[in-house]
């Protein structure tokens, strides 16, 4: 058998892989373009991608400043919300009474549209930056609480008996067995909470109209600067995809070490 000429085939193979992974995304973009061309939507209503790109390159400062703020608030809120959710889940784990009270409440809140609380929280706390942060903390809290609680309860089979036989104290059992076995669930919560953190930060900024990407989006939309509005969409998507990819990468890295 003669050896495969590796070099000329490589780009072709890469193209094939890319096509098999991204044909769905490409198809959607093609349909979108076809829809715009066929229905003949006005250029002012829906600008060309080129115009959006030009606005992004022409005014990088505005985009960077607002995107940086949104990203910072979303990341900080996500971390604080995850911490708070974990602490409450651990407290609930330590007492059957607390767990009996808090677990159904956690279930209730994860079955209601929490995003609808944004206007309420904004009104209670006033229109400023700490409100955006508080909203992201609250939105990130629920998945962290629900998944960490579930993780604290699923111990590897037999491990609990082993710790009891070895006469481990409650504290040793907690730090050496219960907490480590909750890590995979915690990483799932982190991955699930990352995109909503960015979204809720943007929605809060959009509704209050103070600053950040959401504000930029709102002012552009109300001033009929459609290139700016779509430019904001592009930046928001990039941020959100980056956060999600980071969370996914972190989850895989941690799980690989864990198993």
């Amino acid at each position: 058998m003669r050896p495969e000429p590796a070099t000329p085939n490589r780009p072709l193979r890469m193209l094939k892989t890319a096509l098999s992974r991204y044909w769905g995304v490409i198809a959607v973009l093609v349909i979108w373009q076809a829809w715009v061309s066929i229905s003949g939507v006005n250029q002012i209503v829906l600008p060309q991608p080129v115009d959006v790109f030009r606005d992004l390159v022409a005014e990088p400062g505005i985009y960077l400043r607002n995107a940086g703020q949104t990203l910072l608030l979303a990341a900080l809120g996500l971390i604080l919300g995850m911490l708070l959710g974990t602490v409450i889940a651990v407290l609930a784990w330590s007492s059957t009474l607390l767990s009996g009270i808090l677990t159904p409440l956690g279930l209730v809140f994860s079955s209601v549209p929490v995003v609808a609380l944004i206007p309420v929280i904004a009104r209670i706390m006033g229109y400023d930056l700490k409100t955006v942060l508080a909203i992201v903390v609250i939105i990130s809290f629920f998945p962290a609480f629900v998944f960490t609680s579930a993780g604290l309860k699923t111990l590897p089979p037999g491990s609990s008996d082993l710790f009891r036989v070895l006469g481990a104290s409650r504290w040793t059992r907690f730090t050496r067995l219960v907490l480590p076995s909750a890590v995979p669930s915690w990483m799932i919560a982190f991955r699930l909470a990352a995109p909503p953190a960015v979204l809720s930060a943007m929605l809060a900024e959009f509704l209050m109209g103070t600053s950040g990407l959401g504000y930029l989006f709102r002012s552009a939309a109300s001033g009929f600067q459609t290139e700016r509005a779509l430019g904001t969409s592009v930046v928001a998507t990039v941020i959100s995809v980056l956060c999600f990819t980071f969370a996914l990468w972190a989850e895989r890295a941690v799980l690989r070490k864990w198993n």
Binding site: L97, I101, P104, L105, R123, V234, S240
Partner: protein, 253 residues
């Protein structure tokens, strides 16, 4: 009389106590104005909500929002199940569909709003975002459920020469039903979120519009009422789906 274990009863009592504690705390904070004037007591919100003069206002908003939520839910679920079926039947298409679902999921809804407003209308934007949210949940649930049929059953269908479509309809889809129903349950709040935030982008009706205009105009009881209606409705549908899920699990597992 259904016999419940002592543990189960304890759970129900504690859970009810937790919910009552939450509602009591809401009332207490409102009455004493610990959170200022923007936190009304629960009783004030309920009085406002059930005042007969507001029945028309809330009725209109509810029928607008709920019809969009229902339409988005059904559309999203149908697309999710059909695409998952296609990914299952035509295996080479699977990576592309998986990637499409995760890209759609990672794009913040606020970024898609301008497109939907132009391509559909301001009124239909909520429906479209709800459908996208539901699609993602159902697609993931269905693709993971479709591989749940056992190898012995698959071999049996193979031996009898069943066509792939027949196998999907008679074996894989019934085996996936529990996973799909669980997905349908978790898709309920996702549909509500999608429709409500879709209405924030300039819709002329619906609960989302009520929330935004009440927030901007300091109509605190109205704001809390709209949020309470949306949350209660989502909770009720979620609870109903939990019952369905329980029945399906008992039948199919």
């Amino acid at each position: 009389m259904i016999a419940l274990s002592q543990e189960r009863w304890r759970g129900i009592v504690l859970g009810a106590f937790g919910v009552l504690l939450f509602l009591g705390l809401w009332q207490l904070i409102g009455v004493n104005r610990w959170a200022g004037l923007t936190w009304p007591p629960l009783t004030d919100v309920l009085t406002f909500l059930f005042n007969p003069s507001r029945r028309a206002l809330f009725g209109r908003a509810m029928s607008a929002s709920f019809s969009m939520i229902a339409l988005g839910y059904v559309t999203g679920a149908a697309i999710g199940i059909v695409l998952a079926g296609i990914a299952h039947l035509v295996h080479p298409l699977r990576p592309g569909l998986d990637r499409l679902a995760s890209v759609v999921h990672a794009i913040p809804a606020i970024a898609l709003a301008p497109l939907f407003i132009v391509m559909l209308s301001r009124e239909m934007t909520g429906m479209a975002i709800a459908a996208l949210n539901v699609f993602f949940v159902i697609y993931v649930a269905t693709t993971s459920g479709l591989v749940a049929s056992t190898a012995a059953h698959r071999d049996l269908f193979q031996v009898f020469g069943a066509s792939p479509v027949k196998r999907l309809m008679r074996l894989d889809l019934p085996a996936a039903l529990p996973a799909i129903v669980s997905g349908l349950k978790y898709a309920v709040p996702a549909a509500f979120i999608g429709a409500i935030l879709g209405e924030w982008f300039g819709s002329s009706r619906g609960l989302g519009l009520l929330m935004v205009s009440a927030m901007q105009n300091f109509q605190i009881p109205l704001l809390w009422s709209a949020v309470l209606i949306a949350s209660t409705a989502s909770l009720l549908v979620f609870a109903a789906m939990s019952v369905v899920e329980h029945l399906v699990y008992r039948r199919y597992r």
